[in-house]
Structures are given as structure tokens and as C-alpha cells.
């Protein structure tokens, strides 16, 4: 019996394995990953400092344990070079493997903007535990007594940028955030909610630079601490120890494209997560879901729903993926936020009668989304019941 092969050991890959094994204990499963295959909760990367957890402590389930409990063959530290969809063979850096069905769980890559300056190459981004280890080592350094003078510039005031800003400022670092918008989370939140978060993080010590971008990152010309000089488009210069880019993710479609699969913003999949090849499926940050109107969907909840539906399909029961309402928790303890965003392009407006609650109201007074801040986040269940998906 040819195995089910899954490429990628992130949340999408491992959750597909776990859900598939609940339905089918017999079919061989192989998981191929470029990293170690250790499982970690990715959302923990942006609150690890506050919890005092080291990169090694973030591994919640070692690969060896998953191999045993899920009865899976793991090909770790293995790169997929090519997929032959006609012969159904995957060529990797460690041999060729035939498959019955193939799942692409290859995720997304951190977006980067080109920057000028002789230290542009020192800018970090965090999209994996490995990335986080490098960032953690840079920030913590060898002398922990120096931490409280260290300064970090974050590019991007989106969800990840704000979570890192809160985590690092809360742990005693000095943090500056640069974003071309006028306030944090401008694409996601109504203006007043964004302003609340801006104020809460400012109170924690975060310095905001809105309406501008980073133009260049250079070595500090004074050859002293801190090591870097960041030049903004509004002529402001900031001296800093570390620069973190958190401007967003882009679906990784490289392997799918070379295989000849249909790709747009992500790997195009139908409502059963099938790509343009009948034996290749995709889910996670790399997929562009028909079930989401042709969008890619970040965050944890969509992956969990997609993995359950895909596991059922792979176990022989073709299952259409229907996304439920998926509120997102923004881990900014200075001002906790829960947001259930309306579908893009949906007509309507944010209304608020309460300083911690915003409702997105569309035609015929139907509610399509909500934002809750602070203690109002406890009203998540009540608001979720009001929303018409």
C-alpha cells in the first residue's frame, strides 16, 4: 500500500496526521519536513518572553514522540526537490518516495521589503521556532544583565508586530514600532479600538512611529552601542540593537508552482482541499481556499477546521470544508482583543455603543463581525451567537 505523504511539519501537517489517524490506523503515513519535525505551538513564539520560556522549552511534543504515537514515518531535515504528479513520486534530498495521495502543508514565508544600508542583512523575521531561536539569541545575548537597556525596532504594527511589541516591552526591553498606517492593526480593527491598543502599549513603554517606513538599516556610525542605526522615511533616525520585520506572510507556492499546480495568492484548492491535481491536496497558510471565497486564511482556527475535513476526505469520505465563525485572540495582555472580522468586501460599518465592543452591521441590520477589547473579551460567546456567518 502506497503511503499518504504530507510535506510540512507545522500545525497544518501534524494536525492532518493526528486527525487522519483518528479515522484510519492502517494506511502508512510519511511526513517530510525540512526541519526537525518537533511540534511547537506557533502562537507561543509571540508571548515566550513574558512567560520566560526559552526556544527549547517551546517544543510541546518532540518529533520522536509523535512518530511513536501517530505511527508515522518521519523524514526530517529533508528537502523536497520535485513532485511527479503523473507517476505520483516525490523526489527529495534523501531519496524518492511514491505516494497514494499527497498533502502540501508548506505554509508561508515572511514577507520582506528591500531596505538600503550596510546592515540591511541583519534584519530578522520570526516565522518558525528556528527563526525565533535566532531572534532570542540576538536579543538575550550572553549578558542578561544588559537586557533592560536593549532596544528593538519592529517593522509592522499588525497582529504579530503588536504581539511582539507587547511581549518584549512587558519583559523590559525598549521597543519602537514603525508602520505606514496611522495606528496599530489598521487593517483589522475599527479606528477607536486601534487607538485603545496604541494607548495601552504606549503606557507599557512602546514608542510608535506611524505614517512612515524604514528606509535603511546601517551600522551605528559611532561604532558604539547600540549597534544599528535605523533611518525612517520621515528623516527620523533611531539607534537600536535589533530590527525585527513583522510585515506579514505570503503563501509559499514555490513547490506547487514547479509541479504545475494552479496557484494565485496561494495554492488553489476546492471545497474539499483538492488542488488542480486529483491526488494532491493543500491546506494551511499556503492554501487559497474556495471555502473562504478564494482567500488565504492565516491563524490557527482555519487550519484546525481544514485538517479535520481533509482527514475525512483522505480516509475515504469526501468532505466539504465549511469554515465556522473563527474569532481571533490577539495576545496583547496590555489590552486583550478578540476580533471576528467580517468577510472582505462585505458592505456594512462598525458601530459601537460601548467602549469595549464594536459590531460590524450590514444590510437588514445583520451582524457580520465584532471586536472586543479589555474585559469585554469575556463576551466573546455572546457576540459569536449574534453573528451570521
Amino acid at each position: 500500500m502506497q503511503p499518504l505523504i504530507i510535506i510540512g511539519a507545522g500545525l497544518a501537517g501534524w494536525t492532518t496526521v493526528r486527525e487522519f489517524r483518528k479515522l484510519d490506523a492502517a494506511t502508512p503515513v510519511m511526513l517530510i519536513t525540512a526541519d526537525s519535525g518537533d511540534f511547537y505551538a506557533k502562537p507561543s513564539l509571540s508571548n515566550a518572553f513574558a512567560q520566560g520560556r526559552s526556544p527549547a522549552q517551546l517544543v510541546s511534543t518532540p518529533a520522536a514522540k509523535l512518530v511513536e504515537t501517530q505511527n508515522v514515518t518521519l523524514r526530517a531535515h529533508t528537502r523536497v526537490r520535485a513532485i511527479d504528479p503523473v507517476r505520483r513520486v516525490v523526489t527529495t534530498s534523501h531519496g524518492k518516495f511514491a505516494y497514494r495521495d499527497l498533502v502540501l502543508a508548506t505554509g508561508a514565508q515572511a514577507m520582506r521589503v528591500p531596505l538600503a544600508g550596510d546592515a540591511a542583512g541583519s534584519v530578522l523575521s520570526v516565522n518558525s521556532l528556528q527563526d525565533f531561536s535566532a531572534f532570542h539569541a540576538r536579543v538575550v545575548g550572553t549578558d542578561s544583565s544588559q537586557n533592560h537597556s536593549k532596544h528593538i525596532v519592529i517593522l509592522g504594527a499588525g497582529l504579530i508586530g503588536c504581539e511582539f511589541a507587547n511581549d518584549l516591552a512587558g519583559a523590559g526591553y525598549r521597543v519602537s514600532v514603525v508602520d505606514p498606517a496611522e495606528r496599530p492593526l489598521a487593517a483589522l480593527l475599527p479606528a477607536q479600538a486601534g487607538e485603545q491598543l496604541q494607548g495601552a502599549l504606549a503606557e507599557l513603554g512602546v514608542t510608535w512611529h506611524f505614517g512612515c517606513t524604514v528606509r535603511a538599516v546601517d551600522q551605528n556610525p559611532d561604532k558604539s552601542d547600540p549597534a544599528l542605526r535605523v533611518s525612517l522615511s520621515n528623516e527620523v533616525q533611531v539607534l537600536t540593537d535589533t530590527v525585527l520585520s513583522a510585515i506579514g506572510l505570503r503563501a509559499d507556492t514555490a513547490l506547487a508552482q514547479t509541479t504545475g499546480l494552479a496557484c494565485e495568492r496561494g495554492i488553489v484548492v476546492d471545497t474539499a482541499l483538492q488542488t488542480s491535481d486529483p491526488h494532491i491536496y493543500a491546506l494551511g497558510d499556503g492554501a487559497q481556499y474556495a471555502s473562504a471565497g478564494g482567500r488565504t486564511l492565516p491563524f490557527v482556527m482555519p487550519i484546525m477546521s481544514a485538517a479535520r475535513a481533509l482527514a475525512a476526505t483522505l480516509a475515504g469520505q469526501r468532505t466539504e470544508l465549511v469554515f465556522p465563525l473563527m474569532p481571533v485572540t490577539i495576545k496583547t495582555p496590555a489590552l486583550p482583543i478578540v476580533v471576528a472580522a467580517p468577510a472582505p468586501g462585505l458592505a456594512g460599518q462598525w458601530t459601537s455603543n460601548d467602549p469595549g465592543l464594536w459590531q460590524f452591521m450590514g444590510a437588514e441590520n445583520r451582524q457580520h463581525g465584532f471586536v472586543l477589547t479589555g474585559q469585554h473579551t469575556a463576551r466573546r460567546g455572546e457576540q459569536a451567537r449574534l453573528v451570521q456567518v
Partner: protein, 58 residues
């Protein structure tokens, strides 16, 4: 004197359940021990079952 409260971590998404604060919005009052959280309760952030939580020292 009662035992100190503990925290439990969702191994899938990193959500933390703290016995001290409970989860009042889900009807789980502050001080509720992990053992007394209903088996039907799911992680609010990712939806996995109670079984996918592990005890953590934070």
C-alpha cells in the same frame, strides 16, 4: 490550606488555562481545578479537546 493553583497549556496553540482565574466566559468559575473542567470544554483559541492540554510551570 488549599494547594496552589496550576496552569495548563494547550499543546496545539499555546492557550493557557489558569486554575486561579478559571474561564468565567465559558461558565468555569475562578479557582476551578483542571480535573473539574468538563471534558466537553474545548480550547477557545483552536478548538482542540481538553485532552490536548498539558500541565506547565510558568
Amino acid at each position: 490550606m488549599s494547594n496552589p493553583t496550576k496552569t495548563y497549556l494547550c499543546i496545539v496553540c499555546g492557550f493557557v488555562y489558569d486554575e486561579a482565574t478559571g474561564r468565567p466566559e465559558d461558565g468555569i468559575v475562578a479557582g476551578t481545578r483542571w480535573a473539574d473542567v468538563p471534558d466537553s470544554w474545548a480550547c477557545p483559541d483552536c478548538g482542540v479537546a481538553k485532552a490536548d492540554f498539558e500541565i506547565v510551570e510558568i
